[in-house]
Each structure stands twice: as C-alpha cells, then as structure tokens.
C-alpha cells in the first residue's frame, strides 16, 4: 500500500478555479473521507487523483512516484464509481477480469484473484451473471470486487453508497469498514453524508466552496470544528449559534445571551478577537432541567424514540435545538428552563473561525 501526496494542486474549468493550491498527505493504509456539500470540489479532487481529470498546477504523488502526468491505468489505483459503471455486456467474471486481461495477467492468476475476491465479497454464485441481472447491492459488491482484484496501491470511492436504500447503505458501510480492517488499504472515500465519513474514516477532509475547511479525525471534526461551516455541516441536528457578549471569568469567557442569562465556557479569553462573537453549542449539550438558567418556549417537539429534539425560542427571540430524553413530558407551548454544558461550547468570530477550550 502506498501513501498519496497532493502538493498544491489546482484545477480550473475554463476560467473557474475549482481547486486552488490544495496540499494534503494521505498516509499509507489510511481510510480518509472527503466530506462536503455538492459542488465543493471533492469528486473533482478524487478524479484528479484517479487521472480522470487533468491537473492544472501542482503535483500528485502515489507511493512517492509522481503520477499527475500518467494515464489513469498507469497510476495503480482502483476506483468504485457512484453508478458502479459495470460493463453491461460482460458477465461478472469478465467485469472483474477485464482490467487484469488488459495488462496481460496470466489466466490462472486472474482466476485465483477473482476466486479470492468472490470469496471475500460473497459473490461467487454471481460470477456468470450479467450486471443487469443483479440487485443494487450485488452490483455494488461487484464494483468493489473489480477494484479488489487489481490489488491496487489505493482505492478511490466516489459516493459509492448513495445509490443504495437506507438499510443496505448501513450494512454496506459496516462491510466496507470490515474490508478495510482486513486489507489495510489506502482508501479515499468521497461522500456528502457526514455519517458515512464519521463512521468509516480514520481522518476526514471537510471541503467547502473549493477549499479544505479542516482535516482531522472524526472526533476532532465533531468536537473541535475549525470553522462555522464544519460545525454546521457535521452533526445532526446542526450546532446552535447564538450571538453573545463576553465577560471575563478568571481568564475564561462567559457568554452572555441577549436575555441576560449566561453560559460559562471553557474558552480562554486571551485567544478571542475583538468584535462580534457567537457561541456554538450542540443540541446534546442543552437539556431541560429544573435548575436550568436559560428559559425558553418550546415550539416544536421531534420525537426520535431514543431521544427528543426540542425546537425552542429564547426570550431574546433566538432559536435553538435542545435534547431531551426519549420519553419527554415536554409539550409544544411549554416554557422550560434549559441547562447548558458550557464546557463543550465554542465561540465563533465574524469570519466563521472557531475558538475552543484548551485541550
């Protein structure tokens, strides 16, 4: 397995720059996810690594070797496409064998590798069928099998789960995680689904508007989002943002809400900029408790079974989402006292940059 290095790569479509000066190192054996909304450039970046898009500037190295001038086939990577891109006129066996035949792999070696892949993916009984005779999940496995038999330096997945139904998506996600644990292969996984990124990846690259917002482990991304975009994009429901003024509390910031109630954060005062700030708090850090300091009126109650999300309007007119237990007694229209865990709160400046508690 090989590392992948992107060294200030750029990509333009005509006069529109879609990737600018992006640098990133993906370590050997790492499972990395490119996460971001549609049009953020994540698929383009993946296709640049695969060789399906040209690179307008910078270098791409796979296993230390520069590849950005090589054709896709010569880069030693395998890709699983969103719509699988199985060859419709070939049997599953021929689909898997196609790439190996093209580089002159001996017949018995092809048969051995396909047998091995079919065993891992449990598609042995499908080898003589054509893609049109397979279900969505089976096609997905064949597409993964086609990557597997090549024994590539790296696997590239382009939103591979987005065409599966919800139940199958969850199952395939677990299987991909298991497969990666077995193969320890360098993997890049493009997705717009934060759950897929969080559950599968060892590191996540959050992208927005053609640039990287943050690179970090799933818990880094969730617990210490670098920007407001990351904080809003990762986590469900999205993080609550409220405008605050700051008061000194022995060197730490106490956020004062519009109605005068306070949240004691653990963010050091000396790192904060001057100017308007907002406090960012996740729903699970806001609970309904008799001793809660922040009063609010419940507008909507969403019951999810294991927990309940309360959409609340504060006295100053701002809204937030709080979390309550599954069997919540709260009804729409109730006025409830809210307790906020200030220790997990973040502060954000005008530009959307985040300030966290010391680690």
């Amino acid at each position: 397995m090989s590392s992948i290095e992107l060294d200030s790569v750029s990509k333009r479509f005509g006069s529109v720059e879609v990737i600018s000066e992006l640098s990133l190192t993906i370590h050997s054996g790492e499972f990395i996810a490119f996460l971001g909304p549609s049009g953020c450039g994540k698929s383009t970046l993946l296709r640049m690594i695969a060789g399906l898009e040209t690179v307008n500037g910078g270098e791409i190295r796979i296993g230390g070797e520069r590849v950005d001038h090589l054709p896709p086939g010569a880069r030693g990577v395998a890709m699983v496409f969103q719509h699988y891109a199985l060859y419709p006129h070939m049997t599953v066996f021929d689909n898997l064998a196609f790439g190996l035949k093209n580089i002159g792999t001996p017949h018995d070696e092809i048969a051995r590798r396909i047998e091995e892949a079919a065993r891992i993916l449990e598609i042995g009984h499908l080898l003589q069928r054509k893609p049109g005779q397979l279900s969505g999940g089976q096609r997905q496995r064949v597409a993964i099998g086609r990557a597997l038999v090549k024994d590539p330096k790296a696997y590239l997945f382009d939103e591979p789960l987005s065409n599966l139904d919800a139940a199958l998506r969850v199952r395939t996600r677990v299987e991909l995680a298991r497969l990666h644990q077995q193969t320890r292969a360098t993997t890049i996984f493009v997705t717009h689904d934060q759950v897929e990124a969080m559950t599968l990846a060892s590191r996540i690259v959050v992208m927005n508007a053609r640039k990287v917002e943050q690179v970090g482990t799933p818990m880094d991304i969730y617990g210490r989002p670098a920007t407001e975009f990351v904080a809003r994009f990762v986590g469900s429901p999205a993080m609550n943002f409220l405008p605050v003024t700051i008061r000194d509390r022995a060197g730490l910031a106490t956020a004062v809400l519009g109605d005068g109630s306070t949240i004691d954060t653990a963010v050091p005062l000396d790192i904060l900029p001057t100017g308007d700030l907002r406090v960012g708090i996740r729903a699970e850090a806001i609970h309904v408790r008799p001793d809660g300091a922040v009063p609010g009126k419940v507008e909507v109650v969403e019951r999810l079974g294991d927990r309940t999300h309360l959409h609340i309007r504060l006295m100053d007119g701002n809204t937030l989402v709080a979390e309550d237990k599954g069997v919540s007694q709260v009804q729409p229209g109730d006025t409830v006292p809210l307790a906020v865990e200030g220790a997990t709160a973040h502060l954000f400046d005008d530009a959307g940059l985040a300030y966290h508690a010391r680690q």
Binding site: A50, P72, G73, M79, F81, H83, Y87, P88, G99, N102
Partner: protein
C-alpha cells in the same frame, strides 16, 4: 352512514368490480387499435393479397379484361434475362451500399460525438443532404459525373488524367449510383448511431481507462456491444430501403448502359406503367418482396443469435 341503509341487492352491486378494472377479454378495448387496424388492413394487407392475386393474372389494360394464368408470369420472369439481371444488379447495389452505410455512418458518428460547435455544424451538414429530393441529388451528381465538363472530370484533367465516363460505363454505372445514394442519405445512419453512442454512460469509458483498456479495446468491448441493437436497426432498414432503389437509377442512368444499372423496381415500373403488363409487374414485385423479407429476416436471426450467444 348510507351503507347501513343499503338493500341487499344494492350491496351485491356495490361489491362488483368497478368497470374498467376487470380482468379477461373485453372486446370494446379493440376500439383502441381500430384506427390503426383500418389503415393496416386497407393499405397493407389488402394490397399484399391483391398483388399476389394480380401476379397470377394476365391483364389487358385496354379492354379491362384479365384471365387467370396461374404461375405463368413467374415462369416467364425467371426466364427473362433482363429480370434476372435486375435482381443481380439490386443485390450488388445492396452489397455495395449497406456495409458502407454502417461503416461510414458509425465513423462519422464516432468522430462527431462531441458537444463543440464544429461537431454540431458538421452533423447538420452531413444530415442536410438527406432532406434533398432525389431529383436535386441526381442533378448534383450528374454535374459531378459528366465526362465533358463535370466536376470530377475537371479535377482529373487538372492532374493530367483522362476523364472517366462514370454513368455510361457498364462497370461503373452502378457504383456511381451507390456513391450518389450514400452521399444522399448517410445522415440517417449517422444520426441513429449518434443517438446510440450518446446513450453509453461516460463512466464506462472512465472505468475502462482505469482498467488499462486501449482506445481500440474500449471501442471493441464497450462501444460496439452497446450499439449492437442500433446496428441491427440500421442494417435491416438499409437493406429494405436499398432494395427499393429506383429514383437515382431512373434519373442518372435510365438503367443503362445495356441494363447494367437497372434495379428491380425500375423493371417493375417499366413493365407496369410503360408496357402495361400489370400481372407481370405484380409478379416481379412479389419476388422483390420475398427477397427483402428473406434478407431482413436472415440478418435479424443472425444478430439475435449473436446477442444471445
């Protein structure tokens, strides 16, 4: 509320299947296909059998009498050297044009399967000739082929070559008609192939590129299998169409020289509408119909076997 007051009789009526959702034959549904059937029967089936019947008559157009002669017309046809010659000419013409329609149509489609402005204009130009009438097309090509001051002759003289009299040469008249025909209606196969090519998902070629497939291998393993059905359509359509060669031959060469470019339809036309041998012409039509049916069916079965195999 009203349910409670329904009489038993009405209750039975209520559980009856609503009309329109019944299963089984319902002959009024045949009305949906009736308009088509009327035209199909009146304009296709009736003339077919009428033609077969006519081919067994010896008709006299002047006193409007006819007498049944059985297969005499057919017997006469197969002893008619000119007719046998027209069959041979027509088959030759089909062999000259259909493979070229497929090959050049596909090549043009492959070359112009792009979304830039040049390709769009070229597509329009190549298709544009198809809208011309056969009269215009033959006038254009007559001017090309004229041995005196025709375009090709002028070019040949430019290179110091002796001009060739294409349409008055017995070996070149039919190929000249074939070239004219291909120039005229190459647009349709090109468009059909283009439509088929645009149905192939681009991801397949990307997957093939990652699979180290050469351009030739991609063409052979992805493009060709994907357009196999369209190719069958083009081949069958062109076989049926080119067997009916008429206008170009009539206007360019009048079937000459010495019957060298006379196709079956021209023979039928001359027998039926010049010499008024209606029965004889009808018999020749039936022979043409059989040849076309056999050729198209053979191609159809051959292709189906390959698709399944």
């Amino acid at each position: 509320m009203t349910d409670a007051t329904l009489s038993p009789g009405k209750a039975v009526a209520a559980v009856k299947r609503p009309t329109g959702a019944s299963i089984g034959p319902r002959w009024t549904n045949a009305l949906f296909i009736a308009p088509y059937m009327v035209f199909y029967l009146a304009l296709l089936v009736y003339p077919l059998f009428k033609g077969i019947w006519m081919s067994m008559l010896e008709s006299d157009m002047f006193d409007d009498t006819s007498k049944f002669t059985g297969l005499a017309n057919y017997y006469r046809l197969f002893n008619d050297k000119i007719f046998i010659g027209t069959i041979w000419n027509t088959v030759l013409f089909v062999l000259m044009t259909v493979p070229v329609f497929v090959a050049i149509g596909l090549l043009l489609a492959l070359a112009l399967n792009r979304s830039d402005r040049t390709s769009a204009s070229l597509r329009a130009i190549f298709f544009g000739t198809s809208v011309l009438s056969v009269t215009i097309v033959t006038i254009i090509w007559k001017m090309m082929y004229m041995p005196g001051n025709g375009a090709i002759a002028s070019i040949m003289r430019l290179f110091g070559l002796e001009p060739i009299a294409f349409i008055t040469s017995s070996s070149l008249a039919l190929p000249a008609i074939a070239v004219t025909t291909i120039w005229w209606i190459i647009g349709l196969p090109m468009m059909l192939f283009l439509a088929a090519l645009q149905q192939i998902p681009g991801e397949l070629y990307e997957a093939a590129a990652l699979d180290n497939a050469s351009r030739w291998r991609s063409f052979w393993s992805i493009t060709l299998p994907s357009i196999r059905r369209t190719m069958l359509v083009v081949v069958i359509y062109e076989i049926v169409a080119q067997f009916q060669l008429f206008g170009q031959a009539q206007l360019l060469t009048q079937g000459g020289p010495n019957n060298a470019s006379r196709p079956i339809v021209l023979f039928i036309y001359e027998q039926g509408f010049r010499s008024w041998n209606l029965g004889y012409a009808a018999a020749a039509s039936e022979v043409l119909f059989l040849i076309m049916a056999v050729a198209a069916l053979a191609q159809f079965f051959a292709s189906r076997k390959r698709v399944e195999g």
